[in-house]
Amino acid sequence: MLGGLQVGMLGLLGARMYGLQVLDGDRYQMLADENRIALRLLAPSRGTIVDRDGIALARNERNFRAVLVAERTQSVEATLDAVQAIVPLAEAEMQRVLRDVARKRGFVPVLLRENLSWAQVAAIEVHAPDLPGVAIEIGDVRTYPLGEAASHLLGYVRAVSEPDLKDDRDPVLSLPGFKIGKDGIERQHDGVLRGGAGLSEVEVNATGRSIRELSRQDPKDGAKLTLALDAELQKLAYARLAAEKSGAAVVLDVRTGAIYALASFPGVAPDLFAHTISSTMWDELMQSATTPLVNKAADGVYAPGSTFKIATALAALQTRAVEPDHTVVCTGSVTFGNRTFHCLSKHGHGRVGFTQAFAHSCNVFFYDVASRAGIDAIHTASLALGLGQRTGIDLPHERAGLVPSQAWKKKATGDVWHAGETLSVGIGQGDVRASPLQLALMIARVAGGEAIVPHLVKDSAEQKAWPRLPFLPRHLDVVKAGLEAVCSSGTAMRAQIREPGLQMAGKTGTAQVRAISQEDRDEGVRSDDMDWEDRDHALFVGYAPVASPRYACAVVVEHGGHGNTVAAPIARDLLLEVQKRDPGAMA
């Protein structure tokens, strides 16, 4: 009976084995394969960003870092003590290391310190016998040789965050520590720069340790991105702005729309966003009056001041509200309805035409021209020049600015447009707003007569034919004659380029931040005497060379005072330098 029982039990074992191995064998085979084969993603290296001459703007630098593999050392504490002698670790770092060691499996490297110097790397290698478990790893770290000078333009990369994963299903994002572009060019062209993940099929054991690689598909590294930018010019623009407290400058090609410089001062350290920012530092950046976090070239909008007279003139000429030989007598002010509008010259400019009015920035002439053209004509002409709407530059964000119209006023306030407002808008005050980029586009379009679109990435489309502007050439010539006079005999005369053949034409602008009241006027208060925050913005838009316009430039210096003394010299230096370097000649 006992024997029978044993036979029965043996039979049970056999049946169970048959069930597991034969009947369900396939299922377990599948489970076994899933068990042992793991797919590991391989990180591609991010594409570099270079300027038009191939000078690196963003590249990956090899970053040496020390890691600790806990299972290879007898005592983590003893090893850490030994490491301390070479690479001092702060108390907080020690805590993090010990926590990571405790949390992760023994074979997973724990980061000790990033960005080791050569001396430290060498010291660790030499003392390797005394540092069991310590290894040097090479990683990529994104560096920006231009530093703060191109920080807004290039943007930055940062580790993938939860919201990124929602609308981007790229598997490469799941790699620990993988960084993607978060702003600027890095974000705009992230798809090109990022590359594609490689795939390594590895056999792993139960603890997740790789035993061997079964197959490998190398990662597709990100492509090199060439910008139209001229690194030297960008540096110069930033350096010139740095003499002031806050401002932006844009240089672009009149014929192609290629941007050679797009600077905003102050910039931020490019590695600022690579790590966690302390809240005090963040608050400081956020609250700073000089708005270092804002790319003022595209995201800062300002009342364009007198530079807007270009649009006013073209609007009036286009609609035949005035003819090129139109003249107005300036007495220093004009009364419209119950308001008095002032000119720059208290005593008036006398009888002026377009050329003199531009040269001396006569407000009274443009009050007359603006009121004859009407707000909607100004609006239409402004749009043709690229104002009041996004320029279409390849950046993740830019402000559209604003050029008012009757329809806009009705929609925004419910109120009807008052004719008096047209006078303010006519000289670039009132509700009109434009970014430095838009102003640069405006002057470039006027200079070239073509509806170019600004772009940062250098591409073969640079030579494409742009549509003509909806202005008659002779009307554009009227404006250009005025702009030439500004620099030869007018407000920006002293800023004129001395080199023959390279001379510029342009328009100064001084945009009021605080309205100057009658009392101020009576007391003779000047913008220069006011607090920095209340001072006028200084603007200048210009192009060069005069004879055959090639480069356009716009400069805005926040609270800089006067356009002619502050902004024009910066534009002059940029226009001179860009002509000397002549990046457009290669295109």
């Binding site: 056999g14 597991l20 191995q21 377990y28 085979q29």
Partner: protein
């Protein structure tokens, strides 16, 4: 079920033929020895594979131990079965003391659970040896028993104590598997000597009644083992991990296996304890259904031979000893293989001669030696109560 008792009554002391040493050696079954060597060889192969195709750290030591134990087995086979009977109680009690010793040492040393005694040259696991010692002790006790004796419940109290005492000590270690094995071996011997089934029923009922009490004294990990056995899928990465991984490894072996040294699950450490308790899984993964079946058949043949030896013995002690040891071996194999297949909870019972472990091999080989001794001295006659 009464054939042992019945035959014991007809055994007479006509004096026993003394055998010369060479004659004794000649009496050792070559078939049995071959089966044992085959199992040992499978063990070495298994250990070699468990170390990913290396002799170190297990296979070489396994082979060495097998060699030493093989010599010991032959030595024990030559010891007169009557001497063995005389030594039965001393061996049993010595072992009981050892067992109590580890318990006390563990308590005094404050080291918690203790299963080992370090004798310097070898670490002894008294609970493994107890499996042999218990059979010896019970065989000695029932050697004297008549059917009338067995029917008296009071007569059974002493052997019951002989079983429960070590079981209690082993469970306290805590070692669930060995405790259950001792209980079952004891029960099987009770059954062999003719204890009525209703008495078993009573004991089992008592035992079932004691389950809640036992449950209270069980350590958490033991409770978890039982609960996860009931539903292993609830905790695939926790306590049910062993069973799940073992089933995957075993099942993926299929009909013919993945080939020797090619078992991915075992070699990649998905399989826990692959050189000890889960060695059968490793072999089944690599050799498939047929390989596993062949190994089980090998064990079945050894067990069957042990039963055959028991039935051939002319003395009660030898019969009970051989049969008890066969049952013991069967339980080893059954519990281990049923465990790795997920039929019963994970309990720490090694697969005889295949699993890595010195004491377990020592105990099993000693058991084989005893079976051979019973075979060699099968015609030795011992009157009831006379040794």
């Amino acid at each position: 079920m009464s054939w042992i008792s019945a035959s014991s009554r007809t055994s007479h002391a006509f004096g026993t033929p003394e055998l010369s040493l060479s004659a004794k050696v000649w009496q050792i079954s070559r078939l049995f020895v071959m089966l044992v060597v085959a199992l040992g060889a499978v063990g070495v192969l298994g250990q070699y594979s468990a170390a990913n195709g290396h002799m170190e750290p297990w296979a070489s030591r396994h082979a060495l131990r097998f060699g030493i134990c093989f010599v010991a087995m032959i030595g024990i086979a030559l010891i007169d079965v009557r001497f063995l009977a005389r030594m039965a109680y001393p061996v049993y009690f010595a072992n009981l003391l050892l067992l109590a010793g580890v318990e006390a040492y563990g308590k005094i040393g404050g080291l918690g659970a203790q299963r080992w005694i370090n004798l310097g040259f070898v670490q002894l696991q008294p609970s493994e040896l107890m499996k042999i010692a218990l059979v010896l002790g019970l065989a000695r006790w029932f050697h004297d028993a008549t059917l009338e004796d067995v029917r008296r419940p009071t007569y059974l109290l002493a052997p019951l104590a002989m079983i429960l005492l070590p079981v209690g000590l082993v469970l306290a270690q805590p070692n669930l598997g060995t405790g259950l094995m001792l209980l079952m071996v004891g029960g099987a011997i009770f059954f062999l000597v003719g204890v009525r089934l209703w008495k078993f029923a009573t004991l089992i009922l008592l035992g079932v009644g004691a389950v809640p009490l036992v449950w209270r004294f069980m350590k958490d990990y033991q409770k978890r083992r039982v609960t996860t056995f009931l539903d292993p899928s609830t905790d695939p990465l926790g306590a049910g991990y062993h069973i799940t991984q073992s089933k995957i490894a075993l099942g993926s072996g299929g009909l013919w296996g993945k080939g020797y040294l090619l078992g991915s699950q075992s070699h990649l450490n998905f399989l826990p304890e692959k050189q000890t308790d889960f060695i059968f899984t490793l072999l089944c993964e690599e050799w498939g259904f047929w390989g596993g079946t062949a190994l089980l058949t090998l064990f079945a043949m050894v067990v069957a031979y042990g039963i055959f030896v028991g039935l051939r013995s002319r003395n009660q002690f030898g019969r009970i000893l051989a049969l008890g040891l066969s049952v013991n071996l069967f339980l080893y194999v059954f519990i281990n293989t049923a465990m790795v297949m997920g039929l019963i909870p994970v309990v720490g019972v090694p697969l005889p001669l295949i699993s890595f472990g010195g004491t377990s091999m020592m105990a099993v080989m000693m058991g084989f030696g005893l079976i051979l001794s019973v075979l060699v001295h099968r015609d030795s006659r011992m009157r009831n109560g006379e040794i």
